[in-house]
């Protein structure tokens, strides 16, 4: 059939032209609860669209892993994240694959990792369970998001979800807010990292956005 053929052709053409955003540039930091208002004011002034005010979000994220034992070697673990919006009822779910941090030169200002996002219907959870994924953990994130050009800044509080408790009685896991500055871009656009670093400079000393080395975090636990 020619129709799927042309779809595949256009997809591979898009991949070749490098227009699909499949990399995420990321900087993270945190700010204590008592200073988050100041940070929000500052972000409101620095970011686009001052008149419309900060956009709030309330999301629930589930993290699945798909384990495939490859015989003698180490089992391959594929982490997948499903995120749904709790405040907007009909928004599609987002399925996300986030890869490992790219080991590049140490001078790169941001974390670069491959990330693939897609929108899907609400049946994704059943689908993944049928595939064999197991739910690793889940959490609720609630906060505000801003944008400046291509950059997205989110200030959110993470809440623990106990399986059978209703949504309102969740408890926060810490007394601080997680601040993330991210850009989704096709691979090879490293100049955006510099822009992100300059923007992060403007938020100091309220919050220090920097690249986190996840391997060391893992070993610290």
């Amino acid at each position: 059939m020619s129709a799927p053929g042309t779809a595949m052709d256009s997809l591979s053409a898009a991949l070749k032209c490098n227009i699909i955003p499949n990399q995420e540039y990321l900087l993270q930091g945190s700010v204590l609860d008592q200073y988050v208002e100041v940070l929000l004011h500052r972000l409101r002034g620095l970011c686009d669209n001052v008149d419309s005010g900060p956009e709030s979000f309330h999301d629930h994220e589930l993290c699945f892993t798909l384990r495939a034992g490859s015989g003698s070697g180490a089992p391959i673990v594929l982490p997948l994240r499903v995120r749904r919006a709790l405040d907007v009822a009909d928004a599609p779910f987002q399925l996300r694959y986030v890869g490992q941090q790219e080991l590049g030169d140490k001078n790169r200002p941001t974390v670069v990792r491959s990330s693939i996002d897609m929108a899907c219907s609400s049946t994704i959870v059943e689908f993944l369970t049928e595939l064999g994924c197991r739910l690793d953990f889940e959490y609720i994130a609630r906060g505000y998001m801003f944008r400046k050009g291509r950059m997205k800044i989110t200030v959110s509080k993470i809440f623990k979800v106990a399986g059978n408790k209703p949504v309102e009685t969740v408890e926060p896991i810490s007394q601080s807010y997680l601040v993330e500055l991210s850009v989704l871009a096709p691979s090879g656009q490293d100049a955006i990292g510099e822009d992100m670093r300059i923007f992060a400079e403007q938020l100091r000393p309220l919050v220090q956005l920097e690249k986190i080395d996840y391997k060391r975090l893992g070993s610290m636990m």
């Binding site: 669209n49 999301d59 998001m145 944008r147």
Partner: protein, 516 residues
């Protein structure tokens, strides 16, 4: 004791220092009050900076009055330069051409001089006219821009006013540029014409919408509209055009945020659904299509004309037809492309007996009428169609009202017909169909027949049930055949007493009801 003296001396020394400083400040302030200019430049610059974007580039202060930060993608720059008023002899060429120092208004005593690029000087506005070929349709009596007395110029006002005017000129240029581009690209059934500073678009057959860019570079504010035969332009449509362009700007900057938060920035809500809802190529293409500015303003103009026509038709009918009263109620809330009017046909004094409601939705090029029985009639832009429809409904109302009245009077409706065609009951009407009904009295001894026609009006006839003129003949011998009913005799309604048709019918029925 010594300590007290020492302290006293120290305090005196400190006091002297403070007093000397205060003296100095006082003298410097007095001097500043005397020569105002230097101080005022900075204060005025500060005030200007509160409203306009300024920045210092090497030795000059450059500003930007374009809508670029608000989302405009127009290529013409809006940079202006701010200089001190004393150094106006300097003709050192900055990037934006300075004002010629000739027409310096004498009343200016501001410390700032604002230099605007030459193509943005003066005052501009977009003129919108609805013309019927070569006559004028709408005349709006609102003061033209700038024809009122100008407010007294204060010191900080002058630079700001010039900048506002220049910004308006830039906005009007962008708007006209966009409309002209669309007029050339769009393919309408009757092509749009762009001639110089005017765009002519056909709204309805015979009616044109003319959009012109009026840019007057003279400072003469008393200049009236050049041709007195043209009516003043439509401010509502001009405002709509401004709003439409501002909406375009707004969409360029305010992209929707993704929910959940990890989604990509940029795609609209519909696009986000395209994946999970399996949108095909056709749907995706449809998502990208939007109405252009010109199409939108043409639609608004079409609706405006339709509304005016409908109002005219309804008002004319209400003035002409007095027997059933036609009252129309227009909805307060409507959109630029759709309005709604509710029409009530009722007879004076008999509102509770029978009322015919109609709802008419006025669209851009068509009317949709919802009749009392739920039927939907779609009409085109010809006003005659609406007129015919209303007259048909008036007829139907009369017949229904008579039947309802008969019920209250105790009379029985024997039958009715809404469509009497071309048979022995009469000739075919040029407009609509005649309708009729038959009623009999409570005792059955009288029959009334009513026939209602759109053009010739109403005819009423009465018959006696046992014939008064029955004589047994050789064919019809028995007495019982006298009950078949007699001849119908016409009633002269115009000679009858009664305010309106229903009143006359009520009196007629009352007089024909016998007591036995």
């Amino acid at each position: 004791m010594v300590q007290i003296y020492a302290r006293k001396k120290a305090l005196a020394g400190a006091a002297n220092v403070l007093l000397a400083g205060a003296e100095k400040l006082k003298t410097s302030q007095n001097e500043a009050v005397r020569n105002r200019t230097t101080l005022d430049f900075h204060i005025e610059l500060l005030r200007l900076r509160q409203n306009w974007r300024l920045k210092k580039v090497s030795n000059t202060i450059i500003g930007d009055l374009s809508y670029r930060t608000a989302g405009s993608k127009y290529l013409q720059t809006g940079t202006f330069e701010v200089t001190k008023a004393e150094d106006d002899e300097k003709a050192s060429s900055p990037p934006s051409s300075p004002l010629p120092s000739g027409p310096t208004p004498a009343k200016q005593n501001s410390a700032l001089r604002v230099s605007i690029p030459s193509e943005l000087q003066g005052v501009a506005y977009i003129e919108v006219l609805c013309q019927k070929d070569h006559e004028d349709l709408c005349s709006v009596n609102i003061n033209l821009l700038g024809s009122g007395p100008p407010p007294p110029p204060t010191q900080t006002c002058i630079g700001s006013k010039k900048l506002e005017a220049a910004q308006n000129v830039l906005f009007c240029k962008e708007l006209f540029n966009q409309l002209a581009k669309e007029a050339v690209q769009l393919q309408a059934p009757i092509p749009h014409m762009v001639v110089g500073n005017q765009i002519m678009a056909t709204v309805l057959p015979g009616i044109q919408l003319i959009i012109g860019l009026c840019h007057s570079t003279t400072a003469d504010k008393k200049q009236q509209h050049p041709s007195p035969s043209k009516s003043e332009h439509d401010h509502v449509l001009e405002h709509s055009l401004h709003q439409l362009l501002r909406e375009v700007h707004h969409k360029n900057t305010h992209h929707p945020f993704p929910h959940p938060a990890t989604g990509p920035l940029g795609p609209s809500k519909k696009r986000m659904f395209a994946g999970p809802m399996a949108a095909d190529r056709y749907e995706l293409l449809e998502m990208t299509k939007t109405d252009t500015l010109l199409e939108q303003i043409v639609k608004q103009a079409q609706h405006f004309i339709m509304r005016m026509r409908t109002e005219y038709v309804l008002d004319t009918i209400a003035k002409e037809v007095k027997d059933p009263l036609i009252s129309s109620h227009w909805n307060t809330l409507n959109s630029p492309t759709q309005s709604c009017v509710k029409i009530n046909i009722s007879t004076h004094g008999y509102d509770a007996v029978c009322r015919t409601p109609l709802v008419i939705h006025v669209g851009e090029k068509s009317l949709k009428c919802i009749c009392r029985d739920g039927k939907v009639m779609n009409m085109s832009y010809e006003p005659q169609e609406l007129r015919d429809l209303i007259f048909c409904h008036i007829n139907q109302h009369q017949i229904l009202a008579v039947q309802a009245l008969a019920k209250t009077m105790g009379w029985q409706a024997l039958g009715n017909s809404n469509h009497l065609g071309d048979d022995s009951t009469g000739t075919v009407e040029p407009l609509g169909n005649a309708s009729s009904c038959l009623m009999s009295s409570p005792t059955g001894d009288r029959i009334i027949a009513v026939r209602c026609e759109p053009h010739t009006g109403i005819q009423v006839s009465v018959a006696h049930s046992p014939r008064t003129d029955f004589f047994p003949s050789r064919l019809v011998t028995e007495r019982k055949w006298e009950h078949l009913g007699g001849q119908f005799r016409d009633v002269r309604l115009d000679k009858m007493e009664g305010r309106n048709f229903l009143h006359k019918m009520e009196l007629l029925m009352a007089s024909l009801t016998s007591n036995s």
